[in-house]
């Protein structure tokens, strides 16, 4: 792999949602580039397109126009989309664990189905990952018996189990009770330190400062401002980002 090939490249991406009465331009003219090992945060008000943007990167959302390349390979058909999805894994706001499987089975399912390994090996890997996120004691519990923070940590273990090159996180702590936020953020920080390429949609500005090198501010489906995280958050250039950041300070968000 050429070191200069970006890990993620979005070129002139547009996404238009059509309903019977309205046409929504969820993403317009989005250009993004990320190096391998980079951690980027997507910030912006709700409905600004940041989650949609994240979902286009692993093909959960198709794009209306433009191109998406992962490690230089563009998404073109359903089959390449499937192949590229193998390089990414995703963490969701509402965890989205498989409710009918135990924590261990949740983590083991994808490796067992995707890779030529035995069920025992898949369970072994899952077991190691669960202990790395501190949940060995809960491996045989079903998701609904776990707290939100524990569920999200299972979801992280499940994402890591497919050994992704890119980890996509969609508001990973927004659905958590405040006291459970840190256990998830600490874990994500550790993964970032390990050199994982990550895209994180977040409202946690403190977290963004601590782990991300770059930040992209979305508003109205467009990337309004991009830059190094410290600079962007300390010296916002556009009035819209200034307004967004001061609105966050008005609330108890960090």
């Amino acid at each position: 792999m050429n070191h200069h090939t970006p890990a993620i490249e979005l070129i002139d991406v547009h996404k238009i949602f059509h309903s019977k009465t309205t046409t929504t331009h969820a993403l317009a003219d989005v250009h993004l580039q990320m190096k391998e090992g980079e951690v980027a945060c997507l910030i912006g008000p709700s409905g600004s397109g940041k989650s949609t943007c994240l979902r286009t990167i692993n093909g959960l959302e198709t794009i209306t126009r433009g191109a998406i390349k992962l490690f230089g390979t563009p998404y073109s058909s359903a089959s390449t989309a499937h192949a590229l999805r193998r390089d990414t894994a995703m963490i969701f706001q509402r965890f989205e664990l498989f409710p009918h499987l135990t924590a261990l089975e949740n983590v083991a399912l994808a490796p067992r189905l995707r890779e030529p390994i035995s069920k025992a090996d898949a369970l072994e890997r899952a077991s190691e990952l669960l202990s790395s996120v501190g949940l060995s004691a809960h491996r045989d519990k079903f998701p609904r018996m776990l707290s939100g923070g524990q569920q999200q940590r299972v979801a992280i273990a499940r994402a890591l189990a497919v050994r992704p090159r890119i980890l996509l996180c969609d508001e990973p702590t927004s659905a958590l009770d405040p006291e459970l936020v840190d256990e998830v953020l600490e874990l994500l920080k550790a993964i970032a330190k390990g050199g994982m390429t990550m895209v994180v949609v977040t409202h946690e500005m403190r977290f963004a400062r601590q782990v991300s090198q770059t930040c992209h501010f979305f508003d109205g489906g467009r990337v309004v401002e991009s830059g190094a995280t410290q600079t962007l958050l300390d010296r916002p250039q556009t009035p819209r980002l200034q307004a967004f950041l001061s609105s966050l300070q008005g609330t108890h968000r960090r």
């Binding site: 959960l60 894994a89 009918h100 994808a110 995707r114 018996m145 497919v162």
Partner: protein
């Protein structure tokens, strides 16, 4: 199993209701002034002289195999049509929709007659084949709607998660969607099966030997219509009770995560 607390009013209301039913039955039978004789039905259950099963058991066997076969074939048709309604192309969807509407919105009795006198003549089908085909299609039409509705209302999150993990459509269907959909489907599916067992009595009109047909014959011979129909009702009840219980058991097996720890 956990007991639910109910207000004492509930048990009082239930007692009153049971008392009312018992009273009206007792009064009805009293006014009827009928000499009950259930023992005379023994010969229809088991012919002691020849040591062979009687009419009732023959009928029961008929009901069992007609229902079982219709349930199996109907489920296959229903799941297939349901999947088409949920995710087929528009031509296939229209076709499935047409099938479902025809079989849901016309009486089974008419469907049976048409199948037996028109379709069966055209294709040289036996009465049994025509009967089972009708019940299967009828049952399938209802199951198709259940399947479509269940899939439509299933939360999409776990499916998205599976997709994001790089699983194929088929793997997701097999390991995520099917188990989650099936346990949602179970209660209404069992309800459908219970209905089908009862509706199987209708195939007696095209002279298939099953419980209801046997009962009419027993009445014709014995003139003991009250006893015969009561007995037959009890047999249907027991059949369906067992069916419901099996359904409940399977449902619980499939939802280990929903059981209280």
């Amino acid at each position: 199993m956990h007991e639910q607390k109910r207000s004492p009013l509930w048990s009082i209301a239930t007692s009153v209701l049971i008392a009312l039913i018992v009273f009206s039955l007792w009064r009805g039978f009293h006014t009827l002034d009928y000499q009950w004789d259930f023992l005379s039905l023994r010969e229809y259950i088991w012919v002691s002289e020849s040591g062979t099963p009687g009419l009732l058991l023959h009928g029961l066997w008929g009901t069992l195999w007609v229902s079982a076969l219709s349930i199996v074939v109907g489920s296959v048709i229903g799941v297939a049509a349901g999947l088409v309604l949920y995710a087929g192309n528009s031509f296939a969807q229209n076709f499935a929709r047409f099938f479902v509407e025809i079989f849901r919105n016309t009486p089974v009795l008419v469907q049976l007659y048409v199948m037996y006198f028109v379709v069966a003549s055209a294709f040289q089908l036996s009465a049994e084949q025509a009967g089972i085909a009708t019940l299967s299609l009828f049952c399938g039409a209802y199951i198709a709607e259940l399947v479509r509705g269940t899939l439509l209302n299933l939360e999409k999150g776990p499916q998205d998660a599976a997709l994001s993990l790089g699983l194929t459509r088929l793997q997701i269907a097999r390991h995520v969607t099917a188990p989650l959909a099936l346990r949602r489907l179970m209660p209404s599916l069992v309800g459908q099966y219970v209905s089908l067992v009862k509706d199987s009595s209708l195939v007696s009109v095209i002279s298939i030997v099953e419980l209801t047909k046997s009962a009419s014959n027993m009445v014709a011979i014995s003139f003991r219509s009250f006893e015969v129909w009561f007995l037959v009702a009890v047999v249907y009840f027991v059949l369906n009770f067992i069916l419901s219980r099996c359904g409940r058991w399977i449902e619980q097996r499939m939802s280990a995560d929903l059981q209280p720890a």
